[in-house]
Symmetry: C3
Subunit: 271 residues, 3 copies
């Protein structure tokens, strides 16, 4: 059934091509698939920009009533590609950090401002920013093989994608800070219990079951869904935008810190 | 035991009569019962106004220390009576929509501003505004036969009773928007797990067990309860009032939309 | 293993001594132990001031990367020592209430403003302000023998430590107000399910297991943890400060009320 439904789907077709992403349009569904499976869908700067641009395209696309974000292969997403930090010489670090700050702001802003329902299908392990952005989605379905980890502090970094605000709101500070400060890794059931995830689905039925739900959702009255989504977000829109900028400002500083450099060098030394 | 306690209860007595409602005063308890069981306690405009007036009466009533909201018969409440929309000719729709907007604002405002503990006893299925108002109650006890559904978007409508704000706060956006945007129906245990409900009680003990709890609560120091309730609400009072007005404004527009008319006509065609 | 690790720990050593508290410094861990086990660690005014001062010391202490709060003996803390109210003659009550208000504000403010991760180890029953302050901690580990109760309204009082704001945010109003208004006592598993607690640990492994976690956390990059903590709190810092002052203002009034005096006299009469 999976193979058939994949075969039936329209490929990117006439649309824009995005580096490291595959855009799949099926009926009223606009699906953004992270498509760098050999790197566990780690996000390059091009992919950050591509996702933001694809969301903007979906927002404008009159044929699209719901957008979907998922990963190709076994991983959902292994987070920020750390080679984003290591492909630069020491004297280029301040510029790299500044650029990364604004790439991050624009990327997260695309989630905050997205005016239609946005559904994440977490097909496998999720790390870092692919976990924190879940707090900005409208529904999250995950495979029972999914795991969730945000190893910010042991990489010398700090939370992003408004998770410093959304995670304590979603699961309370005692559980949020275990993830955001203490690097705790949780499984699918724990993510469900913590309200980060809408539903856990057995891995072998994941594609089929999520396709069914999204197909159904895509047929609800589109204006009603769009206006409800915008309404639901409106009471915290200004907070989210402000938090996004504050988080990115702190990260610019963190990325230039000795703690972060040491942690990233230790990470590559272990590899 | 149920029959006895019902027999012991004072009926409305000297108080005001409200269309479609039964007011029951027992000790320090002021109970508002939706009393239109043949229509599954669907809310007419008179009942919206009546509930707001009854809450105002309970707020002023010195003998009342806690207020209770429940339904007569098998249903808690089937939501807004859709015939509110269909008893008008097309040219009356703009006026109907505007009137309904202000009836809704006043109704929800009565919940927001209610200065004493307000307890909901969800004796059976709950739909629409009877679900969303639970987010404004101080305790919610439900029968294990209760279900909860807010089919806004497939009726071409959008959330009310501050649920666009309270539901994401209570259960996180991934679970809230399944209800508010994607029309998901949940059972009693799911409503408990999502923190919408304080406790699930077996249906055959529901009246007895809830009577016991409310009897006990009604005897706590009333000023302390009242001031605690007002305090607990105070940090979000302005937000709730603002959200209520924004939601009602959007609904006025929605009720005049083609999506809404089509959905309501399809609903009655299915009946 | 417990005895050994306790023996290995450095006692207060050169630091300040705080009445009713024991300060234990181990590596990068600054541990504040409530040390009045014969009174179930009930908090005297000296202990309120001492905890605030100890947190300020930990904030400044360059050797400290995480702070820990726990209790000596079988109880975590039985809350505010009610003899704080009864050791005064009736004409001294207004001054006592005013003093207590400002002691409370400073105490809670020390939690709000604490700039490093703060972990609570709830080793046994927790009552009143020792429960409400959990909403201001970054991780909460509890023994499976722990219980949680905030009997404010049946003591004629009202919520503190920002719980009027944090508890509805953490667990939704239907569950929060059962605790804050209706005096419900919950067990360890319920506190976990309500997101007040990060993890429940079997009592006989509690010291060992929590020591392991805290040891691990204390070794993460300290600046990254500190800045993440401050960031996570920043979006609600002003709200927390304002709520703290409003709660304390109401309590000053409550402590002078007839309801409160009656309740406290009844409490001592039962003893």
């Amino acid at each position: 059934a999976e193979a058939e439904s994949a075969a039936a789907a329209e490929d990117a077709g006439p649309g824009v091509q995005y580096e490291g992403l595959k855009i799949i349009r099926e009926g009223k569904i606009f699906k953004i698939q992270l498509n760098r499976p050999k790197k566990y869908n780690a996000l390059t700067h091009d992919m950050y920009r591509g996702i933001a641009a694809a969301l903007a395209e979906a927002a404008e696309d009159k044929a699209c009533s719901v957008a979907v974000l998922t990963g190709a292969g076994d991983y959902y997403c292994s987070g920020n590609d750390l080679s984003n930090f290591t492909n630069v010489t020491p004297d280029q670090i301040p510029k790299m950090a500044k650029d990364a700050r604004y790439i991050l702001i624009d990327f997260v802003r695309a989630f905050i401002d997205f005016p239609k329902p946005l559904i994440s299908l977490v097909n496998g392990p999720a790390v870092g920013i692919s976990v924190t952005t879940l707090g900005l989605c409208d529904a999250v379905y995950c495979s029972d093989k999914a795991t969730f980890q945000t190893p910010f502090s042991n990489l010398g970094q700090s939370p992003e994608a408004c998770s410093s605000y959304t995670f304590p709101k979603i699961m309370g500070p005692a559980k949020a800070n275990e993830l955001l400060i203490f690097n705790k890794k949780i499984n699918a059931q724990e993510a469900f219990d913590r309200n980060l995830v809408s539903e856990v689905i057995p891995h072998d039925k994941f594609q089929e079951e999520t396709a069914k739900r999204i197909e159904q959702y895509s047929k609800f009255p589109p204006q009603s869904m769009r206006l409800s989504k915008v309404l639901n977000r409106s009471s915290e829109l200004e907070t989210l935008r402000r938090v996004n900028e504050a988080e990115a400002e702190l990260l610019e500083e963190r990325w230039q810190s000795q703690e972060c450099m040491n942690a990233i060098m230790a990470f590559f030394a272990r590899k």
